[in-house]
Symmetry: C2
Subunit: 382 residues, 2 copies
């Protein structure tokens, strides 16, 4: 059955666009995406031709200055955002800081930020470091009930990094708007593995990371989205020269750039950014609904395989609409099992205290690998 699925998979050819080590089943693309073939080629050109030969002139001649927006344009297509709304820059944590700070200003006098305990820790830490803000952390299933007219900003991660549970982005955003608040979403575990549709769901602000399903490489620059209706009032809490209307005028007064460029701060990390740009080429023209369809099929097959296996508990929701691209299992010896699997060439990851996580990247994972993982788990879990 798995072989048939692979044979019929319309995305199977994409795997050739990645370097994957021999003898390894890599199921950790939700943590670090595999190396796209396009990246080493782009880096070699960047080093020898752009930096090595054209040197400083590359900022204009080779488009370095525009790279944050160029990557942003690719991302807009991927997550269903309006043109002119995204830029690739900084880390996810820094972008989250900008997004939540700006959201609080958009929210006016309401100083309550609602989030949940399933949010990625760095997002909670950043919220905790904001001044004069009342941060309310509720369990994920209580977010809807806790969204009151007191709340100024609802700041959530779309897909839970541990459980794989997915929030109802459309429904929560609509609820947040009906109460006059602002919705900020972290798409780190959803961008590149599903459609997201930021514009259609009228999301206010969003951020996400470039190194998971986007395959941009270790610590790839992150991204930030600001809806067109908020850009005029978006205030970057760190006013840096690359967020200036005319950075190369070197004026003493800060005048924010028009549009999404104002979400930038300092000089872009060109090497990391060029790698992300090259990594995103594989998404060109790709129908994200097909990517999501394969993702759902892989995770469903995997859940079917492990359900009822002694010792394992499936933590991720069974209903496909309520989950992202990875599946988490609870097992009392989770840490040990991940190590044993790695020894056998099957790479997943462990999240304390007792979770095994497996990410299925529709761009390079095969149904056959899902089956092999299932068999391996049956063998080691006894």
């Amino acid at each position: 059955m798995f072989a048939d699925l692979d044979a019929a998979d319309p995305l199977s050819g994409l795997r050739e666009g990645f370097h994957l080590p021999n003898g390894v089943i890599y199921l950790d693309g939700h943590s670090l995406g595999a190396l796209p073939m396009a990246v080493p080629l782009r880096m070699a050109q960047l080093l020898s031709k752009e930096w090595g030969r054209d040197l400083i002139s590359s900022w204009w001649r080779n488009g370095w200055e525009r790279l944050p927006r160029r990557v942003g344009e690719r991302l807009e297509v991927l997550v269903g955002a309006e043109p002119g709304t995204m830029v690739a820059t900084d880390s996810t944590s820094v972008n989250w800081f900008k997004a939540v700070s700006a959201a609080l200003e958009l929210a006016g006098s309401r100083r309550v930020v609602l989030t949940d305990s399933g949010n990625f820790p760095t997002n909670l830490y950043v919220l905790g470091s904001l001044r004069d803000v009342d941060v309310r952390v509720v369990p994920p299933e209580e977010v809807v009930a806790a969204t009151s007219s007191e709340v100024g900003v609802v700041a959530l991660t779309h897909v839970d990094y541990r459980s794989g549970r997915r929030h109802d982005l459309a429904g929560i955003t609509a609820l947040v708007h009906s109460l006059g608040a602002i919705a900020v979403w972290d798409l780190s575990h959803s961008a590149g593995v599903m459609a997201v549709d930021l514009a259609r769901h009228r999301v206010d602000l969003a951020v996400g990371c470039g190194y998971k399903y986007l395959n941009g490489g270790p610590g790839a620059p992150a991204f930030i989205y600001v809806a067109p209706r908020h850009q005029e009032r978006f205030r970057n809490p760190i006013a840096g020269w690359f967020g200036h209307a005319a950075p190369f005028d070197f004026s003493v007064e800060f005048v924010p750039a028009q549009g999404i460029e104002r979400a930038r701060i300092g000089t872009p990390h060109i090497l990391s950014l060029a790698a992300l740009d090259a990594a995103l080429e594989i998404f060109d023209g790709l129908d994200m609904s097909m990517v999501r369809e394969k993702s759902v099929r892989m995770t469903s097959l995997f859940i079917d395989l492990v359900e009822g296996m002694p010792g394992f508990d499936v933590v991720t929701p069974r209903e496909s609409g309520a989950r992202g691209g990875h599946v988490s299992l609870r097992h009392p010896r989770a840490a040990e099992l991940i190590t044993v699997l790695a020894g056998a060439g099957i790479i997943g990851d462990f999240r304390p205290p007792d979770l095994l996580r497996f990410g299925f990247s529709p761009l390079y994972n095969r149904y056959g690998e899902v089956m092999q993982l299932g068999e391996a788990l049956r063998a080691v879990g006894r």
Copy 2:
């Protein structure tokens, strides 16, 4: 004379460690350092072996997790800082934001930040975006007089990006301390071209960029320094998971890391960081006083050459102790001249409204190039 100087130059061999395009005299290393030979080799290994083969395990197996500190350790030697005081991370603007925010907390109730109009614009913008702070901007020559007991933080750039004028880092820091205030220095135009001696001068906090004299590549990660005596009380205004005492415990509560690690925020940009790491190898064992000596000699020779040339005004101080590694000239047709020179293969840069800047990198520039620049200026400046 110039040929003799090159023949006798003890640093002349270092030039072989760089890729420099044929037929080009590159005098813009104060803006973007040239490509070190070590970088393409390191990047090839990073891509094929670390990311491509070892994948997620590289965070530990190949030292990615420690890379910000590893680069920090190299930098400590370069700028004369104590062990355990530096980390390479984020952009200069973001580090400046952290440093100044933390300095304000260290300064207690004093909410006045003193800076000067020669500071790099992004630093002024960041200061202007801080809340509840009284920012005083004075001309560079008035900094000493304006340093009063009202001031909590004196935040300056060591070497002026336009004029090349250097502040008396030791004297101003001592004055600042005598008044109970905190000194924050931006070393972007001094790190890698002189000794700096942060520890000896008891600097409180410092930042700087990795892509000028450090040759880390376009938009290389920046650095931040926190003196040992302040680390315990250093509060990062953006609490991110990589500044946590145990990032991989994924705990909900933020506990800052001990020591300089708390100055980190998000996931490090490994590709850009590895390039900077490789670029710094050339400094291993290098005596920074020799680097400075060659720098002074080159800039002195250049100033001697252009002094009195019709149309040109030397903006940079004649006294070597009062300048950094680049020399700026004023000329009414500065923008045009820089373009004409570039056409002849001599790369400097233009800063509005009327400055030509030339940076002399002691690691790869030759005395002969100083002479050729002088001759070219004489020809085009008429």
